[in-house]
């Protein structure tokens, strides 16, 4: 291996350059101990997925080696590798910094930047026009009037001073309006004072994955401004890990306006169940259910207990995956990986193998997945590995088991 082309020439300037971009930890502290390499769920499944090796290149200041390393985009930024890093290094954060500062928008793989661009231009990641959006809501409203047997039912659009501002994912408008319908029904049953916006309603932000903070800021700010404009007390985010983490991350990093809590809808469900405003029938879903902890929820935002409380309120046969909670394996589609079709083989066949095995071992028939991104990936895995499981959002399960209070009709299918 001692040949000239193989020889590396360390130079510290690149390392310093990256170091100056990161303020909340010091990757220079790395001991090269290997805990992260062992912690990456995919380091033994996908060639080149070795966080320590990547960091080592950075420590030695090997600019070319770092920037040509497929690791930069192979990594799901799931943070499992460094959640217990004894030196406090955050690999996901580091990868995001490298992506964001050393690649041009044109260099991002797949359609990552295309989605970002759509968000920048149209305010949502699927370029849904305001007309289409309002039309979809109208249609949903009619559906709900019928389902609820309440001809007076109105979707609270742009309601002022509501307790909750609900923001969601564009695919709920474009592809899965039934998901949104389920949520709106739950809100109706719980009788909460909430609003959705006619202007800014998509909470996703794919600049979380490109790392480009200029784009990230531009996409995120209108949502916060809309919350303030409508005077909502709290921002509730749909079952989308990326949206939830991006919103919270942006809130923590950039938002200087009026303070308000940002919560995931599971946290709201947990509260409503706890308050007795939602009653669930434990006899409806009898099949064994397991729960996938999205990295953005569990590891990055600490959302762990609430999901268990919600599910255990009506699921009789609940089974944990092994490992679970903050130790759970990434689905394999995180970090924008799902938006890079050139890697779909690595994503589904290689990385998917880990999650497939984990799901299979539980024996569950239903997988509760509180994240749109994970949902797409787990659906791909389910097909590829013929798992035969049904993958459901938590809200969809809750809606199925919902007991309609007296006086409210509820036409559950």
């Amino acid at each position: 291996m001692e040949n000239a082309t193989n020889t590396l020439h360390p130079g510290p300037s690149f390392r310093e350059e990256v170091k100056e971009l990161i303020h909340d930890f010091d990757f220079g502290n790395c001991l090269s101990c290997g805990m992260c390499t062992a912690g990456c769920p995919f380091s033994d499944l996908v060639l080149g997925l070795d966080p320590r090796r990547f960091l080592r290149k950075l420590l030695l200041g090997l600019r070319e080696e770092v920037l040509s390393d497929p690791f930069v985009f192979l990594c799901n930024m799931c943070e499992r590798c460094t959640i217990e890093c004894p030196m406090g290094i955050k690999m996901g954060s580091l990868v995001r910094t490298v992506r964001g500062h050393f690649y041009t928008r044109e260099e991002y793989p797949g359609f990552l930047q295309k989605v970002v661009q759509e968000q920048l231009e149209t305010g949502n990641q699927m370029s849904v026009t305001p007309e289409d959006y309002l039309e979809t809501l109208d249609w949903l409203q009619e559906e709900l009037q019928q389902e609820l047997g309440d001809p007076g039912y109105r979707i609270p659009l742009d309601r002022r001073d509501a307790d909750y501002f609900y923001a969601f994912n564009a695919r709920e408008i474009k592809y899965y309006p039934n998901e949104l319908q389920a949520v709106l029904k739950i809100f109706y049953v719980a009788g909460i004072n909430y609003t959705i916006s006619s202007r800014k309603w998509d909470a996703t932000n794919l600049a979380l994955f490109t790392g480009n903070n200029e784009d990230f800021y531009k996409i995120q700010m209108p949502l916060f401004e809309e919350v303030v404009r409508l005077g909502a007390k709290e921002l509730i985010i749909t079952e989308c890990g990326g949206a939830f983490h991006a919103t919270r991350h942006a809130y923590r990093s950039f938002w200087k306006g009026r303070a308000f809590p940002v919560r995931h809808i599971i946290q709201l469900l947990d509260q409503l169940i706890g308050e007795g405003r939602l009653k669930l029938d434990p006899t409806v879903i009898t099949a064994p259910v397991t729960y996938h902890d999205p990295c953005s929820l569990a590891r990055k935002e600490g959302l762990v207990k609430e999901a268990r409380r919600v599910l255990k309120a009506f699921i009789r046969d609940f089974r944990e995956m092994n490992p679970n909670r903050t130790d759970n394996y990434c689905c394999g589609g995180g970090g924008g990986f799902i938006a890079m079709p050139e890697y779909s083989k690595a994503r589904i066949e290689a990385k998917g193998r880990r999650k497939a095995g984990q799901i299979r071992a539980t024996g569950a028939k239903i997988v509760a997945v509180p994240c749109h991104n994970c949902m797409d990936q787990i659906n791909d895995i389910t097909r590829h590995f013929k798992l035969g499981t049904s993958n459901r959002h938590v809200c969809s399960l809750v809606e199925e088991a919902l007991i309609m209070p007296p006086g409210k009709k509820g036409n559950t299918s």
């Binding site: 291996m1 020439h9 001991l31 090269s32 062992a38 033994d44 090796r53 092994n322």
Partner: protein, 1008 residues
Amino acid sequence: MSIRKERTGAVLVVGSGIAGIQASLDLAGSGYLVYLVEQSPVIGGNMPLLDKTFPTNDCSMCIFSPKLVECARHRNIEILTCTELQELRGEPGRFKAVLLKRARYIDPEKCTGCGDCAEVCPRELDDAFNPGTSARKAVSRPYAQAFPNAYVIDREHCLQCGQCSRVCQVGAIDFTRQDEILEIEIGAVVVSSGFELFDPSSLPYYGYGRFPDVLTSFEFERLLSASGPWEGRLLRPSNLQEPASIAWVQCVGSRNIRIDRGYCSGVCCMSAIKEALTARARGPLNLRTDIFFVDLRTHGKGFEKYRVQAEGQGVRLIRSRIYAVTEKEGGDGLLIRYADEAGNIFTEEYDLVVLSVGLQPSGGFLETAGKLGLSLNRYGFCEPVELTGVATSRQGIFVAGASSGPKDIPGSVIQAGAAAGESARYLAGSEGTRVPSVVELSPEQDLTGSEPRVGVLVCRCGSNIAGVIDVPKLAEKAGELPGVVYAGEHIHACSQEGQNKLKQVIREHRLNRVVVAACSPRTHRGLFQETIREAGLNRHLFEMANIRDQCSWVHLQDPDRANVKAFDLVRAAVARAVRLKPVETFFSVVNPRALVVGGGAAGMTSAISLADRGYQVSLLEKTGRLGGLASGMVQGFRGEDVPEFLSRLIKATAEHPKIEVLTGAEIKNVEGTAGNFTTTLGDGRKIRHGAVIIATGGAEYRPVEYLYGQDSRVLTLLELEKALAGREPAVAGAKTVVLIQCVGSREPERMYCSRVCCTKSVRLALRIKDQAPGTNVYVLFRDLRTYGFYEDLYQEARSRGVVFIRYETDAKPLVEANGERLKVTVTDHILRRPLEIQADIVGLAAAAVAPEENQRLAHLFKVSLNEDGFFHEAHVKLSPVDFSTKGVFMAGLAHGPKNLEECIVQAKAAAARAATILSRTRLESQGTVAVVQREKCAACLTCVRLCPYKAAEIKKGAAEIEPTLCRGCGICAGECPNKAITLLNYEGPVLFAMSSELCRGSCEDERV
């Protein structure tokens, strides 16, 4: 000049682990009264928990027990168990301490340790000594060899039902006892509060607390120990089956800045290796023993060879921090997933996982330190003031052992000696003022011409003996033995009442020999010997038969044969007793002058320590000036100004009225023994002295590697340090500096770690960064050994951009002169590809080596060197500054590689040890000694060669044994080819008489 106020000749020692005990013994031995305060009911700290100790594999309890006994018996040590410091008032030198002594309920003076109380106690608890693995009662004895040898009531769990107090036959239990407040006067304090273990349940990924087969290192020690839950059988807690594989996980709770434990605990690498070796010896054949580590830190004396030996025996060392311990699907087996440096992922299965947990200050230390007014470091340890080794932020208070930072046993013992020495130095002049005066005993009975009159006292030990042995019958039969004029029984022979009875029967029956048939001489011989001496008999006219441990306890199921054996033992004891002769005590006068060989930092520190305590010191330095190796140093490991320190030290030494500095001095000859040496110098001058400290220092190896000596840009670390300080242009202007570790160390010809180079390199790297922040610094290392708090420096260096690259010995770095610059090529340990560094300066971490003159000194002082040329201590663990030759001590690099601060600590400890001899007016022989019959001696030198204490010498054609040096071990007597040497009271006829009595019994037994 102001008149110095009288200082109090007493010292408070807080904490009774090995450090507290060693400090107490050194102080007590130098005439200071010691209050040894211990929170728990027994003294000893953590050492009794350990199975074996590295690197000698000695049984921990076996080597520690004699110290415990010595401490417990010492007349100048008052042991206060169940006691806490409440307040410290007054000024240094004249402190007043308020102590809270919690009621014990069981009076240790009365308790005989019979165990009747535990028998009836209804409350069962988890055993704290063997946590989670065995049970104990609410009244129990912490462990078999515990001192005080008394049962303890666990106040938290006791039901106060009173059953125990009703069965106690000596009335030792009293529930009406109250806590007491004591006030004591002391001049100084030694803080030795020790450590506790990091609780790994706060790091859930290791599975501790969830999986029964995940243990801490200390729990594993208990599993290995013969006094452990399964009597030393190595079993898995989950299913009591033998494990086929064990993994050790290093750095659990150490080297982790995420949980604010950045420091290295220093001892865990060695203890894991030791545990792996012990497990291999105890466990099944082909036991898999894998140690997962980050850097293997075997930096102590002899440790590197231990590591090599372990690898040779099949201990696998895996360089990887594991991610997690998980359970195998379906249970029964633990899985560890880890990555090797190349990035290959492995998942291995283990039956047991041992977590090498880090050390932290013991619980409550923060509070104690607060009461003492001490400042602590960021981790809560009382780190000593720079270059003092033992001083704290407060005058008159010194620190020793793990409360000053993570430490192994020798480190603690050395520091304890230093703390004792500094306390004594601080209180100099007050020794002997507070200690109990020696009671003059009435002269011993003259036995000349009198027939043996043996008394036999048979102890019932409550029901411990009497439950199995027919005590009245045994006493009756003993009474019929030849020479026996009295035989009787007692419920508890060791109780105060039993002692009084013994004195009474000695008088009444005019006894001149005593046999006690009871328990173990290990715990009780001394007590009975004192009693018979008070009754006017020579201490050696005494013999014990252990009919409890060796009869009633072990043969509980077979009382008939237990009774036969008990009588056998009593007959043998009587057979010896009738032949016993009084042992004369020999004395030699002590010359209170000290000789210190070596005028470096260690030698000067020892000299000043002793001189300040009032002893005359002759300090020999072979070169023309004082200073030694430290003269070349600029910055200490904690950033200290070494030149400034050294010049103060030299001045203090040179100007001290009690120190005579002799430069250019060489030793020609040494004569005499402890207390009375005569050393002749090259100029014929003779120095008479009572003790000697060898502090001959060390040197930096002159490398032949990496172009050293061929290219002026390749320097040793000391040369680099000097060049940096002098801002020499070549160094100051360097853009890139490469430091290469282990140059000449950890190599076949020098299989030891030089201990100091890693930290030194990191220090220099930081200094370079301080002086020229833009300089690139690369450190090429094998294992980075910045133990203890030096780990913080390593972290700082990484954070500030110093690049650390690990190399393998089969692919050492290549240094080539490359025109303008030096080309250094090394393979990166992670990328597995060659890195090429264009360097301006290459620094070599050259080995610390022993001076050649050690050889000659070893010969002159009759001491030994190890194979690396460093002096060989009497015991690696417990006597790290003593030689086996009494009166000779060592300090500094002469003993082995260590840093300046460690040299200073050892120098102070050596001075304290020397003072235990110099402070005495005379030395006395320790009981039975070997005697030579000159007419039989052929002067064959066998005894001279074999004596471990260097007590034998040939004088005027025959061997002579110096009685004050002889410890009565009997090796010479056994080996003397002409049987010219005998050990008094262990002569052939005595032993034959005993064995024939023992044989007679078993022959008769066979006939039954």
